[in-house]
């Protein structure tokens, strides 16, 4: 590297014969002014940009409130046949916030032993796990079928064919005052283990559960 042949400048402004320099001063007033103007510009810019940005991305950190919806008396639901029930999943947007769940009683011969209090009824979401179209249950075939791209699920909502990446989502259920209530949504992996809700198209078996992490907006119920 070529040597700089210029005379090394002193870091003190007084030594560089700048008029009006103070003893021991190292920052010229011009440099100080430039820095001050840049800093106040940055502060003014941040004062506008940061609140606006926070406002826009705020909903990403807001948890959706847990709500339970009564869908009918306990006796309405048998263990071998699904009953479609329409209920409101998101409030404030009219019919758009409504969704359908296929509900039946927990069936020990199919589902195994009951896990906890949220497992007395099985409520299967109609959101297809390929890209979110609404599936329909065909009782003759005992299959859930998606009209968009041909996804097929078996009686338990496990993937039986087509492009879906995981079984159909479910809703928590509980019994209050003799009524079955459906609560928040949760996702399940191929073994029907509960996971916090994921978007369709996101596998949660193996590495998928880490590639598509749980989000602050929607978690599982605690201890479930």
């Amino acid at each position: 590297m070529a040597k700089d042949r210029r005379k090394a400048k002193s870091k003190y402004t007084a030594d560089r014969s700048i008029p009006g320099a103070f003893e021991g001063e190292t920052v010229t007033r011009r440099r100080f002014m430039t820095g001050t103007v840049h800093a106040s510009g940055a502060i003014a810019g941040a004062a506008i940009a940061l609140p606006a940005l926070g406002f826009a991305i705020g909903p990403v950190f807001e948890k959706k409130p847990v709500q339970w919806e009564a869908i009918g008396p306990v006796d309405d639901f048998g263990p071998d046949e699904y009953i479609p029930k329409v209920f409101t999943e998101t409030y404030g947007i009219g019919d758009v916030g409504k969704t359908t769940a296929y509900v039946r009683q927990h069936n020990e011969s199919i589902d195994g032993p009951q896990k906890d209090e949220y497992d007395a009824f099985v409520a299967i979401s109609t959101k297809c796990m390929h890209l979110g179209c609404p599936v329909r249950y065909s009782s003759a075939a005992e299959r859930f079928i998606c009209p968009c791209h041909g996804g097929v699920y078996d009686f338990q909502g496990k993937r039986a064919g087509g492009p879906p990446v995981r079984p159909l989502d479910r809703f928590y259920t509980r019994i209050r005052n003799g009524q079955v209530e459906v609560g928040p949504r949760y996702s399940v992996n191929a073994e029907l283990r509960r996971f916090s809700p994921r978007y369709p198209g996101e596998p949660i078996d193996g590495i998928g559960q880490y590639l598509y992490p749980s989000r602050p907006t929607a978690r599982k119920l605690p201890n479930s």
């Binding site: 959706k64 404030g92 947007i93 916030g97 890209l131 809700p197 369709p200 996101e202 989000r215 929607a218």
Partner: protein, 265 residues
């Protein structure tokens, strides 16, 4: 009278000679006829805009320039059509989940010329996307993206992405079954991006599901955020076109005779 209008580069022999000192000055009637020019002159004296206008409009273009070179302007006019009709559609449209469909129905069935203006916006969007791709194909196959125009290609690619974003966000706004489910599917495709996909979806939907503010969010992105970016980038795109000039079609070979290579106007 001092006139500083942009002078087109026409040969000197075709220009009318300036007034001689012994010639008569133009009459007042003639002066009145030139009132418009005087007004332009007044503005130009204070802004010097004419230089910029001349720089932008009276450029030399290479031999062989043909109709394919108008695809960029055509795309811009498609965008202007979208901006214009979009402003007027916004006067009737209500971006709330409960009223959006009804307001779109009102535009189509009841507002005077509503169906026509909505049709212009709807079909105009398709026209714009088609023109964008034709323009891009022209640039690609002509080799017009090469040095020194790489940056303009990059700006154009960003404009392509923004156009797609306009199409995606605009598709939801009629809020019928087709637009709702198409948006659900589109958002879920976005969510399959590893690690960031789920969070991007939460941002796009303003929550874990399609909710109360999703539609207004799409509306704000569709009519405020992206159009502003597109307009700014079109400005940059045009500046670079005027700065760097256009390319000759690839089938034109360089003139071998240096005498004929000289520029003349």
């Amino acid at each position: 009278m001092k006139l500083k209008l942009p002078a087109p580069p026409i040969p000197a022999s075709l220009k009318s000679p300036p007034r001689r000192p012994d010639e008569e000055r133009p009459s007042k009637v003639e002066g009145a006829k030139e009132a418009g020019i005087s007004a332009v002159d007044w503005v130009d004296e204070r802004t010097s805009l004419s230089g910029g206008v001349r720089w932008m409009l009276f450029r030399k273009v290479p031999r062989g320039t043909n109709w394919a070179y108008t695809l960029g302007s055509a795309t811009m006019f498609a965008f202007l059509n979208q901006a214009m009709t979009g402003v007027f559609l916004a006067m009737y449209y209500d971006p709330s989940a409960t009223n959006a469909y009804e307001s779109a129905r009102y535009i189509t069935n009841e507002a005077f010329l509503g169906e026509f203006v909505r049709g212009m916006h709807k079909w105009g969007s398709t026209v714009m996307v088609v023109l964008v791709f034709l323009h891009m194909g022209r640039t690609f196959f002509w080799g017009a993206y090469k040095y020194p125009r790489e940056l303009n290609w990059v700006v154009g690619a960003v404009l392509l992405v923004l156009t797609m974003l306009m199409s995606f966000t605009g598709y939801l706004l009629p809020f019928d079954q087709k637009s709702y489910w198409a948006t659900i599917v589109g958002v879920n495709i976005n969510g399959t991006g590893p690690l960031v996909g789920p969070y991007l979806n939460d941002f796009l939907l303003a929550g874990p599901d399609f909710g109360a503010t999703t539609l207004s969010r799409f509306y704000a992105i569709h009519m405020l955020l992206v159009p502003g970016l597109i307009a700014a980038l079109i400005g940059a795109h045009l500046y670079l076109v005027a700065r760097l000039g256009t390319t000759a079609p690839p089938w034109l070979k360089a003139e071998k005779n240096p005498e004929l290579r000289k520029e003349s106007v």
